[in-house]
C-alpha cells in the first residue's frame, strides 16, 4: 500500500549538506497502524513528507496504492494528495480565518457539507463548528485537523507528531480518533517521539540518524 524503496534525502549542498534520510526502505500494508519514532531530527518528519508526496527524495521511490508518487506530474501529485492522503500535523495548521467547519470543507473539494458537519460532530466539536481556530483549545484544534484529514475518506493518514502539543487527556482523545479510523480499515503512519502511541500500533519503526534502526511488530 505505502512503499518507500531506497529513499535518501539530503538538505543543502557541499560541506553544509545534511543527510536526513539514508537509503530508507519502508512499507505499510493496507489497514496497518505504523508508529515511526526516534529522537528529534532523526528524519521521521522527512520520511512522512516524502511518503505524502510533499518532499521529493534525493534518491529512491515512493509508491502509494500503486501510484509512483514522484513519477507523476505536479498536478497529478496534487490530485493524489487530495484523494489518497490525509495529513495531520503537530501544529494543526488550520487556516486561521476559517471556521472549524470551513477548515474541514477546505479539504473536501466538493464533499457534502452535511458529511463535513457529521465529521466535526464525530470528533466532538459540534458546538464549535462555527468557531475559528484561535477560539479553540489545542486539543480541539487537533480534533478539527483530524476531521479535515478524514473528510475525503483517504486510504492513508500521515500524522506528524499529532499529540506533540497536547496534554495527556487530549493526547488520548486524538489517538483514539486515529485508532477509530484504523479500526475502520484505514492505514495510519504516525510519527512521534513519545511512547503513548505505541499501545495503538501494529508496528513500531525506529529511525536514528536517518536510518531505520529497528522495525518491530
Amino acid at each position: 500500500m505505502v512503499d518507500a524503496v531506497g529513499v535518501s534525502k539530503r538538505y543543502g549542498r557541499g560541506t553544509n549538506a545534511i543527510e536526513a534520510l539514508v537509503d530508507v526502505s519502508f512499507s505499510a500494508r493496507p489497514g496497518e497502524f505504523v508508529v515511526v519514532n526516534g529522537p528529534s531530527g532523526c528524519g521521521k518528519s522527512t520520511l512522512l513528507m516524502a511518503l505524502g508526496g510533499m518532499l521529493r527524495p534525493t534518491r529512491g521511490s515512493v509508491t502509494v496504492d500503486g501510484t509512483d508518487v514522484y513519477g507523476a506530474t505536479n498536478a497529478e501529485r496534487a490530485a493524489f494528495r487530495a484523494s489518497a492522503i490525509g495529513f495531520v500535523f503537530q501544529m494543526f495548521h488550520l487556516v486561521p480565518y476559517l471556521s472549524v467547519l470551513d477548515n474541514v470543507l477546505l479539504a473536501s473539494r466538493g464533499a457534502e457539507r452535511g458529511r463535513a458537519a457529521a465529521l466535526v460532530e464525530s470528533v466532538g466539536l459540534a458546538d464549535r463548528r462555527a468557531h475559528r481556530p484561535a477560539q479553540l483549545s489545542a486539543g480541539e484544534r487537533q480534533r478539527a485537523a483530524i476531521a479535515r484529514a478524514l473528510v475525503n475518506q483517504p486510504p492513508v493518514i500521515l500524522a506528524d507528531e499529532p499529540t506533540g502539543s497536547l496534554d495527556p487527556e487530549n493526547e488520548t482523545a486524538v489517538l483514539d480518533l486515529l485508532a477509530s479510523y484504523h479500526g475502520a480499515g484505514g492505514t495510519v503512519v504516525l510519527v512521534t517521539h513519545g511512547a503513548a502511541a505505541l499501545r495503538y500500533c501494529d508496528r513500531n519503526v525506529r529511525i536514528v540518524a536517518g536510518r531505520i534502526e529497528s522495525d518491530e511488530i
Partner: protein, 381 residues
Amino acid sequence: MHTPRLIGQEITHARLNTILSALAACLAVAMCVFLVMTQAAARRETRRVMRDMGFNVRIVPRETDAARMYLEGYSEHTMPFEVVHRLAEQDTIAYNHLVATLQQRVDIDGVSAVLTGVSGELFPPGRKKPPMSSAVELGTVHVGYEVAQRLGVRRRDTLTVMGEPFRVARVTPQSGSIDDMRVLTSLEDAQRVLGLIGQVNEIKAIDCLCLTPDEDPQAILRAELQRVAPEANVYLVSDMAEARARQRRSTETYARVLVPVVLVVCAAWLCVLSALNVRARRGELGVLRALGYGSGTVVALFAGKAALIGLVAAAVGYGAGTAAALVAGPAVFEVTAKAVRPDGALLGLSLLLAPAFTLVASFVPIVMAASQDPAVALVGE
C-alpha cells in the same frame, strides 16, 4: 471552498495588512488622478498666462530692415494680406493666433500716434482657440491712454483720423508701453485711410513649439515660413518664447518626476506588505498544498487579493484624488479654476490600471508563495 470566498475571508482576517496595502494603492491612484487633473489645469493656466503675455512671433516682409523695424516698432514695407490666409491654411505650421496688422505713424490734431489696423484672428485647420485680442469694429477706434489724454477724447467721442471720422469705442487703460500711443482700427479701415488696400506690414502670432533647450525655434519657424511664404521673414520675441517654453517644460517635468517617484514608493510599500502576508501564511500555504491544491490556486489567492485591493483603491483613490484636486486646484490655478473638474475617463482608467499596478507590485511575493516548498513550510512552522 471557492477561491473568491477564501480571498474574502482572508481579507477580513488580515485587516491591517489589507488596509495598509489598499492605502498604498489608494495613494498611488489618488496622486495620479490629482496630478492628471491639475496638470490639465496647469497646462491651460500656462497657456492662458502665456497668451496674456502677448504674441511672440513677428512675420514681416522679407525686405524689412530689422534695425529700422526695432527703432520704429514696425516694418516700413508691406506684403499682401493674402499671406496670412496662406499661413492659416497650413495644418503643419507651428504658429497659431495669426493676426495681420498694418501700422504707420500718423499725426492726429498735432499728436503723433501709431495707427494700427488689426484683422480678426485666424487659426490653422483644427486648431481654433479662443481669440487673444479684442476685435475692432469697422468705423470705430480704440484709443491708447496717452493719445486720449493729449487729445482729450473719451469713449463715444468722434475722432478724425486722416480726415475720416471714427467713433471712439474704447479708451485703453494705461499700459506703460507703446500701446498707450496707439489708435487701433479694423484692418480694412487702416488700409483705406493709409491708402494701402490689401496690404499689411506685420503678422503677429504665437509659436506652438514645445522644444528642448538645445533646439533653435527661430530656425524651425523660418524653415516653415520659407516653404509657405517666401516673401516674408520671421522674428521671434525670444524672451517671451523662452518663458513660454520654460514654463511648459517645468510643468511637464514636475509631473514626469513626481508620478514615477510616487508609483515606485507605493509599489515598494505594496511589495513589502505582500511579502509579509506570504510569510505570515506559510503554514496555510503548506496546508493547501498538502490538501492537494496546486500552485495555480496559491497564485489565484494572492493575485485575486492584489487585484481586489487594486479595484477598491481605484475607486477610493479616484474619489480622494478628485476631491483633493477640486479643493486644492482652484486655489493653485486661479485663472483656470473652473477647468479643474472630475474626469469620468480617469475613473475607468484607474479601475483598469490600479489592479494591474497592485499585481505587478505583488508579483515577486506571489511567485515566492507559488514556489514555496510546502514541506519546509509545514515542518518549519
